[in-house]
Amino acid sequence: MNGAETRLYHAVRRIRRVEEVIAEIYPSDKIRSPVHLSIGQEAVAVGVCDVLGRDDVVAMTYRGHAAYLAKGGDLKAMMAELYGKATGSAGGRGGSMHLISMDHYVLGGSAVVATSIPVAVGYAFALKKEKKNRVVACYFGDGATEEGAFYESINFSSLHALPILFVCENNGFAIHQPLEDRWATPDVCKRVEAFGIPAEQIVSGDIFDIRNAAQSAVAQMKSKSDGPHFLECHTYRWREHVGPNEDYQSGYRDRADASAWFDNDPVEQLGKTLAADVRVKIDYEIESEIKEALQFAEQSPFPDESELEANVFAV
């Protein structure tokens, strides 16, 4: 177990620190692209990705830094992408919302809510044909479940028993709109179960709860090929919807609601379980990695203007 804790701590701490650094840099306009930070939501990214194999696939959203990193995406390529550099994960064409790393089986994020869901289902369709027991984990927010494409996707994936784990990161808000203004009933699991998909709700935010649920779902998909599973993970976005700051003063939510989540912080919780020197070592490693990645991003060249019209079509 201690192995797991070390690994998980490294993963959540790394994501947290990367995003904190992004937030610090942001006012400089070096990152000229909207950033949707996952600070506070790391447990969902890490808890699920921790049980995936290297060649399992992750599909995600514009709020995708955490999943990208948790699945093994390269930090240098990510920072360079945020800086708009030619060495970025998408060569500077995608920015923060369109991180991708096919080497690590990270499907690109989409800036249009819910649009990556059917794409992920299509990838799972191909994996099923391939018969190598690979699975897709597909992240999306609570808001995404309101789009018709979500229902069409779960119906098809269940009908064809596709190997896909749907992971709803329910942070209670779509931008500033609370669930009550958007969902006729609060129970998304019931909606999903009605399509014959096993669904589990995890309200604790606890990374081990998430990890265990994901592990059992993935195990079933790999051993029984029993079709899609669904996890609803409650979580909380600590910063504003888009951008580097907190926004508790803006009135749509209360800092008091957040405090239970601050107390529940997986970075702190996991950190506490580690010996002090282990923790320091990890923290130091992370800071060094971030420093290097920033240097890489800073020093990398911008794409040349002459490339603008190249590669619209694949050859």
Binding site: A90, G91, G92, F125, E152
Partner: protein, 354 residues
């Protein structure tokens, strides 16, 4: 050349599509066909008949009525290395999948810095309405031509249908394949073996020196008939079929217009912001000689169902011929050909209900 190819192999447009898909499926296990009703006894007007028997339900299957998500499924499977052919029996239904087509399929390769390809074919049938009305008669390819990243082909005969389909399946990009329903019954001598019709090469269907008529999809047939009508009064029209709309072989069109000095674009779609506008604008920008132009397409209304209005909704050989005449002779009184002579045999074959 094999013996087989020396015999005539006269097949219909529907058979040509079917044959191209089947032949490619035989050699490429990644190709699959999905879409509403691709596996029933009617098989999309015959164009998918028999495929499920040969290739099985894993590779040929009907889907739920979920065009939006199924387009995403095509895209995702294509990113994973498969080669989906997603069939829509009417192009009107593409309005349900615009988000996936415009916001993902057309952009993925560029937006993700080349990390993924989206080799998919989106087949969609357009067609003269026969009282099907405003929601079952649209030809909306110009919307796609507005957005970079999607190839568009609209073959006008069985030969091009087969060759373009093979090219489309092998292309590593999304290809919108536009098929006119009335062309399904037309036949041509088509090579039995596989072949590719390259995208971006227009076909000069009939040479002429007085006016260039660029005609899209079934308007090629209507324009060829118009050419005969014009010929009767001594006007010599050159008919150009662009075959592929994206990429567009503008050079061939410009060369023709520089010769004739007159351009009439006949589209099988609305005019405003359509392919006809684009072709006219490009020709005007590129031609080195003075040019006079006109455009024909759908009337600027939703397609009505009643025959009297519906007949007037579409361009036809008579309106094409008289528009060309007016373009050449703006000072003369209008001329209209004999309606009997202007009728097209191939249209008589088509009767409802759909």
């Amino acid at each position: 050349m094999s013996l087989r190819s020396e015999k005539a192999h006269v097949i219909s447009y529907a058979e040509a599509l079917n044959e191209a898909v089947a032949q490619e499926m035989r050699i490429d296990p990644n190709v699959f066909v999905m879409g509403l009703d691709v596996d029933d006894h009617l098989g999309i007007l015959g164009s998918t008949v028999g495929l499920v028997d040969e290739f099985g339900a894993d590779r040929v299957f009907s889907t739920p009525l979920s065009e939006d998500a199924m387009t995403g499924v095509s895209i995702g499977s294509a990113m994973a290395g498969l080669r989906p052919i997603h069939v829509h029996i009417r192009m009107d239904f593409l309005m349900l999948c615009m988000n996936q087509l415009i916001n993902i399929a057309s952009k993925a390769h560029y937006m993700y810095g080349g990390a993924v390809n989206v080799p998919m074919v989106v087949r969609s049938i357009i067609g003269k309405s026969w009282g099907q009305g405003a929601q079952h008669s649209q030809a909306l390819y110009s919307m796609f031509a507005h957005v970079p990243g999607i190839r568009i082909v609209a073959p006008s005969n069985a030969y091009d249908a087969k060759g373009c389909m093979t090219t489309a399946i092998r292309d590593n990009n999304p290809v919108l394949f536009v098929e006119h329903r009335l062309l399904y019954y037309t036949e041509a001598d088509v090579p039995q073996e596989q072949f590719e019709v390259p995208f971006g090469v227009a076909n000069i269907c009939a040479p002429g020196s007085d006016v260039t008529i660029v005609a899209i999809s079934n308007m090629v047939i209507e324009s060829l008939r118009a050419r005969e009508l014009l010929d009767g009064i001594g006007i010599d029209a050159e008919i150009i079929d662009p075959i592929s709309l994206v990429p567009l072989d503008i050079e061939t069109i410009v060369a023709s217009v520089e010769k004739t000095g007159h351009l009439l674009v006949v589209d099988n779609a609305w005019i405003s912001c359509g392919m006809s506008a684009e072709i006219v604008a490009q020709v005007i920008q590129k031609a080195s000689t003075p040019v006079r132009v006109d455009r024909l397409g759908f009337a600027p209304v939703p397609c009505p169902t009643t025959p009297t209005l519906e007949d007037a909704f579409y361009p036809n050989p008579a309106t094409i011929a008289s528009t060309a005449f007016r373009l050449l002779n703006p000072e003369m009184p209008d001329w209209a050909p004999d309606p009997e002579r202007a009728a097209l045999a191939y249209q008589q074959k088509f009767r409802g209900p759909f």
